[in-house]
């Protein structure tokens, strides 16, 4: 049955491109495809027509993927969203008790909100680590760009970047004279990297169980 095998290979590749189904899902659906095909052939339908009908019975790849996606574990999304919210909020929260300010936002004596801490660090007021730490915010913004559409490798690279950023930003704990200098905004900002990294790890794990399209000769 070379025609059937070729048709199933093409169909599996179409499904695998949907990035929703695992290899086991595809094997299970293929078993269903073959069972439907054999039943149709037994009723007297010609093999070519049986292939078309079996494929039609299972539905379009996109529709099937949508149905399977309803079962998709949303935990990675929850972690990433939580991280984004914490990250966004941290820009308005008090971060540090530096006495320097760029513009006047009165949060209390010498208290700097996240947005000012970012600008000060970017301008080199906190040294090279400060500049690098400010740039980690760009890495965080990268995670907002279609994380669900990235492949496993892309997600792993992004995870490594965010984990590295979390480590670098955690180094502030050792650079201040007293932990009291760091305020709630810093901790929320730092934790946001951890939340996003956790979400990305879960996403990478889920993707490792997903099917990938085979190369059709």
């Amino acid at each position: 049955m070379p025609e059937l095998d070729a048709a199933i290979r093409t169909w599996r590749n179409d499904l695998a491109r949907q990035d929703t189904l695992t290899r086991d899902d595809l094997d299970e659906l293929e078993d269903h495809f073959r069972a439907t095909y054999h039943e149709l052939v037994e009723t007297g339908i010609v093999p070519e027509q049986a292939i078309i009908l079996a494929r039609r019975a299972l539905g379009e790849p996109q529709e099937l993927a949508t149905e399977f996606q309803k079962n998709d574990d949303p935990w990675w999304r929850r972690f990433v969203r939580l991280g984004w919210v914490m990250f966004a909020v941290s820009w308005a929260l008090p971060v540090h008790t530096w006495g320097i300010t760029i513009f006047d936002i009165n949060l209390g004596e010498g208290v700097v909100p996240g947005v000012q801490a970012f600008l000060l660090a970017l301008m080199g007021e906190a040294g090279v680590i400060g500049v690098l730490s400010a740039l980690t915010n760009v890495a965080m913004l990268l995670t907002c760009w279609k994380p669900a559409a990235r492949g496993r490798r892309g997600i792993l690279r992004l995870t490594a970047l965010i984990m590295g950023a979390a480590l670098l930003n955690g180094s502030w704990l050792f650079q201040v004279d007293s932990l009291n200098e760091l305020l709630v905004g810093y901790y929320v900002w730092w934790a946001s990297f951890g939340a996003v990294a956790s979400g990305l790890v879960l996403r990478a794990r889920a993707l490792s169980q997903r099917a990938t399209p085979a190369v059709v000769q």
Binding site: D24, D27, L29, D31, A35, L58, E67, N71
Partner: protein, 112 residues
């Protein structure tokens, strides 16, 4: 006869699968065939609906699955009812029989 509504099909899908698996382990295609046979084709289940539902029931611990080699020599995923699934089936059965009894009595009174 009109096919059963989507809502009723969805509501009855869990007890239907659990009931079929109460008769012994089975696989997706066979379950779909049994549903069509038992309902005289009235319950229109699609493959796109069946497998995500089976996986959901598996996640919920109501059914368990294992891969076995079928007669064709290919891998096939078989589902069976778990202890939790049996308890759920007993609850679903009581609920559906209660609905059935209530409707039967209502229609019985109306026809009288």
């Amino acid at each position: 006869m009109e096919p059963v509504s989507k809502e009723l099909v969805a509501a009855s899908s869990r007890p239907m699968v659990l009931s079929i698996l109460a008769g012994g382990e089975s696989y997706g295609y066979e379950i779909l065939q049994k549903v069509a046979l038992l309902s005289n084709g009235q319950l229109a289940w699609s493959e796109g609906m069946l497998y995500p539902m089976l996986h959901r029931l598996e996640q919920d611990g109501l059914i368990a699955a294992r891969w076995r080699t079928a007669q064709s020599g290919r891998r096939r995923k078989y589902y069976r009812l778990t202890g939790k699934g049996k308890r759920q089936l007993a609850q679903d059965r009581a609920s559906w029989l209660a609905v059935h009894d209530a409707l039967t009595q209502t229609w019985g009174l109306n026809h009288a």
